[in-house]
Amino acid sequence: MTARTVLDAQDIDRAIVRISHEIVEANHGTDNLLILGIPTRGVYLANRIAQAIAKNNPGFELEHSLGRLDVTMFRDDLKSQPNRAISPTQIPVSDITDRTVVLVDDVLFSGRTIRAALDALVTHGRPKAVRLAVLVDRGHRELPIRADYVGKNLPTSVTERISVKLTETDEEQSVVITQ
């Protein structure tokens, strides 16, 4: 088994800062932004992106703009997977109608998680727009879904494994490809 580090700790930090700038730029400011992380690592990345935005935009309030969205119950592979536990969903505002929601996940692969996330999101209301930010886009989409903000595009083969490690859960911080 060969392992190759494609992003190190600093690369990840830089990608997060860049994505946070891109989000604010595309949104023409921070008005009505709602950043939602998809468990597990998407939640940590969403925290970091939101904090990076708050650092440069004093009007951006984390308590009204950062949340998490569990998609387990909306997955299309529940039948074949061992019983998945679900984790909390926290939407920090009661009405998401006027919000531009940015979904955050670590790796974009088949696109099925994001499909589930879109379905989960509509049970909370009808957002103005939904965007997608991912740390790594590894290709091999099975659905017509693309990311708006990408930390790194990584052409991979289907058999390769991508593991994202973040300091919140792991000892180190890196993105590693193993064959």
């Binding site: 119950m73 529940l78 061992p82 019983n83 536990a85 984790s87 969903t89 049970t123 909370h124």
Partner: protein
């Protein structure tokens, strides 16, 4: 886990997993769309040989919130009145493609019988069998205690919580399931009731047994759970009359006042207001009776999800 027949089959970890899942299901009720697609296409049959309001409707709402289809079978008005047996009833419904049966039966052990037989491959959930068990009631009671005593987002057990269960313990499947589950979760459980309505095994089932309610209430319980006086099972003289029962074992206004609002009041329903529990007590701020009903939906969603979401076990 394929079936939910008895709390005996549920480990502490499994019970906590169900309660924690139910905590997330409670949140679903606050969403704009209160429906999840997890059990889309599954068929849940409520197989009820005994009357019920909350258990049946609660299971029905829970299954529908998870997008399952629900069919309701009640013995009254069915071919059971023409003499069709339990076996043939299950067979018939199985032939129509039922994935899970929620079984309530007046005979103890009926759900176990169906699960152990080859009548059906479906998942069996015990919705209350005779005087044996009512596992989902115990789970919803545990969730209600945890939410009220430890907060809505707590994910731990009930270590050290003191629970007094009062009334007709002998005939109560709710008392039995609760005693098994709450002690598994670390709570200290006591029974109080007239000696004629306490099983001989009471001392092995719980930590403390009282024959005098006033004496029991002096022992600072966090939760007082009143049981219904089951007139349909009172076929011999267990208590002299209802007035005496209320005087000795009812949670009257006076007894409630002496508790000083320190204990959480619970009742599995249906209540006989004025018999085992005074009306004012049931409607007081200390009462968690309506929360028990709402938590019932969340707990049953969690149970259905854990038993049915996976294809083959």
């Amino acid at each position: 886990m394929k079936h939910l027949l008895s709390i005996d089959d549920v480990s502490k970890d499994e019970a906590l997993a169900i309660l924690n899942l139910a905590t997330e299901m409670r949140e679903v009720n606050t969403r704009e769309v209160r429906k999840l697609p997890a059990l889309n296409g599954k068929v849940v049959a409520n197989l009820f040989f005994e009357d019920s309001t909350r258990t049946r409707i609660s299971f029905e709402i829970a299954a529908k919130r998870l997008s399952a289809d629900v069919v309701n079978f009640t013995a009254k008005g069915s071919s059971v009145s023409k003499g069709e047996s339990l076996k043939d009833t299950v067979w018939t419904l199985e032939a129509m493609g039922v994935d899970a049966f929620v079984v309530r039966h007046h005979h103890s052990g009926a759900p176990q019988k169906i699960a152990a037989s080859n009548w059906s491959k479906a998942t069996i959930i015990n919705g209350g069998d005779g005087t044996h068990e009512h596992p989902t009631q115990a789970l919803l009671d545990a969730l209600t205690m945890r939410v009220r005593l430890k907060g809505a987002s707590d994910s731990g057990d009930l270590a050290g919580v003191r629970v007094l269960i009062v009334g007709d313990i002998l005939h109560s499947r709710v008392a039995r399931s609760n005693a098994l589950l709450l002690r598994k979760l670390g709570a200290i459980v006591a029974f109080a009731g007239p000696s004629t309505l306490l099983p001989r095994t009471a001392t092995t089932l719980v930590d403390e047994v009282y024959f005098d309610l006033d004496e029991a209430l002096e022992n600072s319980f966090d939760v007082v759970m009143m049981l219904r006086v089951q007139s349909e099972r009172m076929n011999s003289s267990f208590v002299p009359n209802s007035v005496e029962y209320t005087a000795l074992f009812g949670l009257t206004d006076e007894r409630f006042e002496n508790l000083g609002g320190k204990a959480l009041i619970m009742h599995p329903g249906p209540m006989n207001r004025g018999l085992e529990i005074a009306s004012k007590v049931a409607d007081s701020d200390s009462s968690a009776i309506s929360e028990q009903v709402s938590n019932g939906v969340a707990v049953r969603m969690a149970v259905l999800y854990r038993l049915l979401a996976q294809e083959s076990k």
